[in-house]
Symmetry: C2
Subunit: 399 residues, 2 copies
């Protein structure tokens, strides 16, 4: 552990921890490890340097995709105003780039009216994505990825316009809600002459450190959610676009999935476990002993039926095609009392049409979990590659 | 620091820290200190035992008033169903008592359908308060405190029924949003045959440990908010009811105060500082050097005017009557992009009429801050004293 307050370059993935003042720092060196610091004051209350953790904004790829998910999410979709042309769009992207670089360092935005609220970076990331309209306004309609646009309709969908689509998306993640509220406010205010807010979605996971790092999140159905996930570093070809104008970028899908706690809670535990094909206690497949055991889809029980039923979510989500996978980075949402609850299901994949759509189609055809879940919002964005100092977000894609 | 996993009785205020597994524990021994644990894994990612911190449910007084405010708040107001009589009310209070005791220990509720979501106590507190209807149903209308009921109307109010009043309130606070969502869900579901949800309010402060403990919170106007607060231990006679049926209890006021960020941000910093009478940077009064310096309300500047203007919030909030003070335990709220933002202003005081109302009346008459803030919800509850093992919430008040 380092005990000073200097900045530490901690891994090949380029995380930077700025641990100011009284902080001791413990650093996760593994790919995908959480970066942050904790320190216990011997006599006083414990202090946690997690508030000082910085995820670098600049890099080959945008942060907020392969970087570990902090506790809180705010997604803001915006629609471009009528008169915005290519020059105005570039001005907005320059402003956002500059402010995002500052805010993620724990510094106020350029026109920040509450600079004190910017002081706790708390692993803040700002990720920007584009809908097709951005390409059109930039006069680069020829570069719209073929998968960018509304997903094909699914039978389970009950989509509402107020949770769907958008010309631009800001994905903000942080381990502190005050930080997140302030950063979103600054970026939305800076955009006010260029774009109007279309929808805002907020989500949460466990607090920083409340569960051991690397623990798969649980959704509000109590399910271990996201076990079979892509792994940044190992599966980069499935997450990131390799070449073309979107090189270093990715495709982002946002699905707002309402979860009916009332009807779910009426099921007994065996029925719930069969619905998913995993045990609730530990997320192990019904044929296995531990969360990451490979499910045995062929195994049968004493009754001759498959242990993992035909309708089970994990059976339906699987395929022999290794490309039909994507990086899940979802967050729970809740009105506070479980009356309006669900998942802000965010996925990243190099090709939405090849990787996401076929899986969703299979789940649409048959997945018992559909009984209790309803997609009520849907949006797809192209996330441009990262930004080098001096560049603006999307520059290489739109120039 | 203790390094084992046993429970530690840490202070005369009876906080208990259960630090399981790999946790090292740092304990705040001072009155009002934050209780929790942090530990840095030398090689792996940091682990934080804050998720394991337990605030005892049982005690002479209910937790959630004098205990340090965790990062997140959920307030649920409920209205009793038509047919609920005294016996049914007692059944509900017994159920809530039992479930609250379990959940705050990190254990599932008795009929908990998602026991895994209860595993992280994260300093969860459950505090229950009563509106006048509870006393009537319990046939104890003679015990309704004279201050229990809607506050007198104020000129600044724009109260909405959907944020006001209620027969019962559940105040849940925790350092983890998953914990909070689950606990609220369990308690609301258990109440479903007895009461309907009237409103839900959620709020946040900085994440556990993101700022040094003891730091006064900032609201979304960037102001240091709550400097001149009552101090549990020192000011107990102003916080807690001393005798009578509500002995060991307190009065709770909930005001939902909308804050207009658009118009506030249009002000320059000097104008904002004059509005409140404190500096934005550090919360020091305009006549002082540090946050907790006593304001000099008589001091004049070179122009002959008082340095702290006549309309300033801190001047108007003050009085020579030392009883006109209350414990503030507010939380920020925000829609995610600052379009619907403000403060869930929660106060506790032994006598709402004597302590809260006169201050609010002075602020209603003149307080420049009213230009940018609007109370849109208001509710008052009687919080009964604490619960000994075997008792139920409110038993001594209602029997």
């Amino acid at each position: 552990m380092a005990d000073d307050g200097s900045a530490h370059q901690v891994s090949r993935r380029g995380f930077l921890v700025g641990a100011a003042g009284l902080a001791g720092v413990a650093v996760g060196g593994a790919v995908g490890g959480v970066v942050g610091g904790t320190v216990g004051g011997a006599q006083g209350a414990p202090e946690d340097a997690g508030g000082r953790a910085v995820v670098p904004f600049h890099g080959e790829r945008q942060a907020g995709v392969a970087t570990p998910p902090p506790a809180f999410l705010t997604l803001v979709a915006l629609d471009l105003a009528g008169g915005v042309d290519r020059d105005a769009l570039v001005r907005l992207l320059r402003i956002w780039t500059d402010d995002a670089a500052r805010l993620t360092r724990g510094e106020p935005g350029l026109a920040d009216s509450e600079p004190e609220l910017a002081a706790v970076p708390a692993s803040l990331t700002v990720t920007v994505g584009f809908g097709p309209e951005v390409f059109r306004v930039a006069r680069r309609a020829d570069r719209v990825p073929r998968w960018l646009g509304p997903l094909p309709p699914f039978g389970v969908d009950a989509l509402r316009p107020e949770w769907s689509d958008g010309d631009l998306v800001l994905q903000l993640c942080a381990d502190d809600q005050v930080t997140l509220a302030h950063a979103a406010r600054v970026l939305v205010r800076q955009a006010s002459t260029f774009a109007q807010v279309r929808w805002v979605q907020q989500g949460f996971r466990h607090a920083p450190g409340a569960v051991p790092s690397g623990t798969t999140m649980r959704n509000l159905f109590g399910q271990v959610d996201g076990t079979r996930n892509l792994v940044p570093g190992r599966d980069d070809d499935l997450i990131w676009v390799g070449d073309g104008p979107l090189a270093g970028g990715t495709g982002m899908v946002v699905r707002r999935i309402a979860m009916n706690l009332d009807t779910w809670e009426a099921l007994d535990r065996p029925a719930r476990e069969q619905t998913v094909g995993r045990r609730l206690a530990d997320g192990a497949p019904l044929t296995g002993n531990a969360e990451h055991d490979e499910p045995d889809l062929a195994a049968t029980g004493p009754d001759g039926l498959t242990v993992i039923p035909g309708f089970a979510h994990i059976r339906r989500a699987r395929t022999d095609d290794p490309r039909q996978r994507f990086l899940r980075r979802g967050y729970n949402y809740d009105d506070g009392a479980g009356r309006d609850a669900g998942l802000v299901f965010v996925t990243f994949q190099a090709d939405v049409a090849e990787q996401f759509v076929p899986v969703q189609r299979r789940l649409d055809e048959l997945d018992l979990l559909n009984t209790w879940t309803t997609p009520i919002g849907s949006a797809v964005f192209a996330v441009p590659g990262g930004v080098a100092p001096g560049e603006y977000l999307g520059q290489r894609l739109l120039v």
